[in-house]
Subunit: 260 residues, 2 copies
DNA sequence: TTGCAACCTTGATTTAGATCAAGTCTGCCC
DNA sequence: GGGCAGACTTGATCTAAATCAAGGTTGCAA
């Protein structure tokens, strides 16, 4: 059910950017291309230098374990490229993906000693790792950063509630329609040139991941996507993308009005 | 599906405690019996006075609307007695209860202009209402309070992820077992005398609410509880309580090991 | 003390989605 | 360019939980 983890964010020193330490490091956050869509947009220039100083950048291939369920919660992460999946599992292996963190999203918060969830890269991922003590210093030193994090966690909670509505009360058809629209929104938010993103959804994850995210089986996901394609609501595009041909119809389906 | 709201937390001035304003109000938080199990335990004596000053206490009967989906997010609440249900709905009336807030829990956070969820009392509820500007002042003036809120929201997010696992991947039997154990934990945390709470779960909500919380129908909830009762895993107790006769077995069931 | 409304339980039947079972497609390594 | 592995699709069948359909309980109000 889970693709086999190949490496870990901790046992992967080679993954860190091997740029000349001193000078480059002060600049990293200042020149970050997705800074404005992340937590880091709460920082002034001095704060950005502090962020760069408090974190290390990691480059990870697909299938890499970032966080392991039950392991000590040592770090906090900010995704700056690619997509990460977060999940929880039952002892017998059943798995629920609780969310996908795309560029600009954070992960790894925990008040417990250990992580209550796992996290793994979906594709090639770049992220900034903050060790806990350093994160806490940042929160204390930069109140605007802390306020921004509070807002970000509040948003994540609202997202989680939306996903509970999906998991508990939506049909397979409604779930898949919602998912495709969400992936379109995610692509809009991370794509650099807006034009090319028009009506495109980024779907770098496998059917297994989609099924584990929507509380379905891979067969049901596949059948439902095929049905949408047959109805000309969507079409395949290159690079793990899907083109949404009728946003309006999909919106209707996603919210329970059964238009086809 | 929803019990008809009778009143609202805003159109209910009579619900506020009608104690002599000045003196009593400074004391309210200082003498609060569940303070230590809530956000407010982050405050020193001066902070408690500020809390009392920034909030109003409300007493609300069962079925009262506290927060309405889509309405302006004007206030933040701290439950100090009773149980509140939080939910989201689809246009056709399908509903998902995303959580129950018992005494000591907060509700009403939002970064948007409007609430993305509804909230309604389950039984007789006492809560403290903070208007937004006043909450923001508190967060700025009392960094320990803000840090405590961040931790509380982080915990809520972890809870939400656990609930997604339940909704997406657990069977009806596993869902109900998990629910009963959670209600036992909730009762332990809010009961004043620990002894009497031993193995008791507080279940003030109806079957409709339980079904909407677990993503099931009322019939399935009823049948599953009946089956547990027949297997002597649980027994009814007075006052909307259920006695858990075998915590260990229920724990096994809840986590997917199918012991009966 | 009776009547009613809200809530809950139990049984019979149906069904959406799971499971079981073949294929097909894609890209990649030799 | 042939073979193979991993990912995806499609069809046939099964089943857990939904739906449909009665009743039974409880507590309150007249």
């Amino acid at each position: 059910m889970t693709s086999s983890p190949q490496t870990s964010a901790f046992a992967h020193p080679g993954g860190a950017a091997h740029a000349p330490k001193a000078d480059m490091d002060v600049m990293r956050c200042l020149v970050c291309d997705i800074r404005n869509r992340s937590l880091c947009n709460s920082m002034d220039e001095e704060g950005l230098a502090a962020l760069a100083h408090s974190s290390r950048q990691l480059l990870l291939p697909p299938g890499t374990t970032i966080v392991e369920e039950g392991e000590p919660a040592l770090a906090f992460f900010n995704v700056t490229r690619g997509t990460v999946k977060l999940f929880k599992s039952l002892p017998d292996g059943r798995r629920q993906i609780t969310g996908f963190a795309d560029a600009g999203q954070f992960l790894g918060l925990s008040t417990a000693q250990t992580y209550s969830f796992g996290a793994e890269t979906v594709d090639n991922v770049r992220l900034c790792r903050f060790l806990r003590p350093q994160l806490e210093t940042l929160l204390s030193d930069y109140p605007t950063f802390e306020r921004r994090l509070l807002a970000a966690v509040t948003d994540k909670l609202a997202e989680a509630q939306e996903q509970m509505l999906l998991l508990g009360r939506k049909t397979a058809r409604e779930k898949v329609a919602t998912f495709l629209l969400d992936r379109m929104k995610a692509f809009h938010q991370t794509a650099n040139r807006r034009q090319e993103a028009e009506n495109l959804a980024s779907v770098p994850m496998t059917r297994v991941d989609i099924a584990d995210y929507l509380g379905l089986t891979i067969e049901t996901v596949s059948r439902t996507i095929s049905a949408f394609r047959r109805s000309l609501l969507i079409a395949s595009a290159e690079n793990h993308r899907i083109r949404i041909l009728s946003v309006a119809t999909l919106l209707n389906i996603a919210s329970g009005q059964k238009a086809d």
